[in-house]
Amino acid sequence: MRLEPHLTQRLVKTLLWTLTGFTLLILIFIIADIAVKGLPQVTPAFLTQDSHDMGRAGGIFPTIVATAYITLLAIVLASPLGVGTAIYLTEYTREGWATRIIRFGSECLAGVPSIILGLFGFVLFVLKLGFGWSVLSGGLTLAIMVLPIIIRTSEEAIKAVPQDYRTACYSLGMSQWQTVTHIVLPSALPGITTGIMLSIGRSLGETAVLLFTAGAALRTPVSVFDSGRTMAVHFYILAREGLSMPNAYGTAAVLVISILLINLCAYTLMQRMMKRYS
């Protein structure tokens, strides 16, 4: 028996819209639960005070510092590598086996699960190189994690810069490197920034990597050899050990809101850049 096509379409459309609505509801539920239970905890004191009593009391200041420190280190290490790779792939070479290997490597790297990266960082940086559980070990491992994100977005951004710009530069007698640094990179900057912001967002939410490379000392890290507990790790420990539900929700709220804001900025930047050059 065959249903009349328009009836089928109606049924299918209802089903699809229901499932879409359901997905949206899940998203709204997640955000609402965190916001409703977490936001009341987020006071200026919560953000600026030291943690006490294993995180049961006090604020989350040390974890904010550790998060910023580790993320900054990762970005400082990964950006030159990522942007350099993107410049090489787009400006300095033709498509060939070299680019194919590099692209493939970066795609595979993007697929490596964070626990594997954690294992790797643990054995190389923490044990073999003797950096211990530290901001440095965490930053180095995170840098490897975000490298593919920066490469991919930078490459797209550089490709989006109109060819005419380059032609104009060459016709003015500029060298290729001058063209890259004076025209291509500045024009692609919004896109590159997008990649960096997405990387920051990814770093903020990462737990598995940092638990095994940066450790979990609940103390404001000073040197790069100090261990640091990031917000995500702090939240994991608070929630898992049942130390303090209010503080866990508060930390989650700060974490989720900062990630969403950063991703939102990244998204708008990218949209603007795409609009300008398309």
């Binding site: 032609t167 004076h182 025209i183 979990a216 050899f225 100090d226």
Partner: protein, 305 residues
């Protein structure tokens, strides 16, 4: 001579027309082209990184004053060590202490290798490890916990062994309303698990059907939420959301743990490669002194002094 423009896809175009193709800002940049603008930035970053790397740390061999004292090991000891470190650092702001988890074996290993100044262990030293200097800091009971709604109040060692080996898997075998027992154990390598196996299991293996959690806190959270569950945790972490069972009629009270009348009693140790000296001696003295022992007692452990 190689072409200076190797990937130019549109080589045509004349200069007066092409300058107009550039956005005004970009054109300005072309006119003001200075040499190596990125170089200064890269140098600055490297200097910054060098400065950060030179600052010393937990595992570096440099003996600067800023070097933190590193304590690593048992997750059972970790919360207490963190609390001790917090109070201690408040008193001696010049000294910094890093407390890491990782488990008893890892802590002992770290202390053997010198990666940590002090290892924290919730089990006794075995074999080669006995070469290390051990400092008992507290007694702890391993407490078998159930949900508060569970009518059970006491249990025998043999019954615990049967439950955890999987021989008994229904509450009806313990004269309770029938329901499957939800077992929660700790992961392989945990000092609490090793102590539990040593004190209770008598060479039998814990059943693979048991849920496995990687900390005392998470075992307690699950038992607090599940009326049919049973698990074991450190006495210091028992709170009113779970019920501690008496073993062979003996409750895990402070007194019973101190006198070892409660059977599942173990020691918490700090271990080091040599007799502690300098900051680590000062910290150990603090832990063993009245203040440190007082903190451990308030946190639910039983002091050694």
């Amino acid at each position: 001579m190689p072409n200076p423009v190797p990937v130019l896809r549109e080589p045509q175009g004349s200069s007066p027309a092409t300058t107009r193709l550039l956005p005004r800002a970009a054109a300005a940049r072309v006119r003001g082209a200075t040499r190596r603008p990125g170089l200064a930035l890269i140098v600055a970053l490297m200097v910054l990184l060098g400065a950060l790397l030179g600052a010393g740390g937990c595992n570096s061999s440099s003996q600067t004053t800023s070097r933190p004292l590193c304590i690593a090991g048992s997750t059972s000891v970790q919360p207490f060590a963190e609390k001790l470190a917090e109070v201690y650092m408040h008193r001696r702001p010049a000294i910094r202490i890093d407390v890491q988890g990782g488990g008893s074996s890892a802590g002992i290993y770290a202390a053997t290798r010198g990666a940590a100044d002090l290892g924290a262990s919730s089990r006794e030293l075995l074999g080669d490890e006995k070469k290390l200097v051990e400092i008992p800091i507290a007694f702890d009971g391993i407490v078998v916990i159930v949900h508060p709604s569970n009518p059970l109040t006491t249990i025998t060692l043999a019954e615990i062994r049967q439950i955890f080996s999987g021989a008994v898997n229904n509450w009806s075998d313990l004269r309770l309303p029938p329901h499957a027992i939800h077992l929660i154990t700790r992961e392989e390598g945990s000092g609490t698990r090793e102590a539990f196996e040593h004190l209770v299991m008598d060479k039998q293996e814990i059943t693979p059907a048991a849920l496995v959690q990687d900390s005392n806190g998470s075992v307690r959270e699950i038992v607090a939420g599940d009326p049919h569950s049973v698990g074991y945790i450190s006495a210091g972490l028992v709170d009113d959301r779970v019920k501690a069972l008496a073993i062979d009629g003996v409750l895990p009270t402070r007194e019973n743990i101190k006198t070892h009348a409660y059977k599942l009693t173990r020691r918490f140790l700090l271990v080091g490669r040599a007799e502690p000296a300098g900051p680590s001696k000062d910290f150990v003295d603090f832990v063993l002194g009245p203040d440190g022992q007082g903190i451990l007692e308030t946190e639910g452990l039983v002091g050694v002094k």
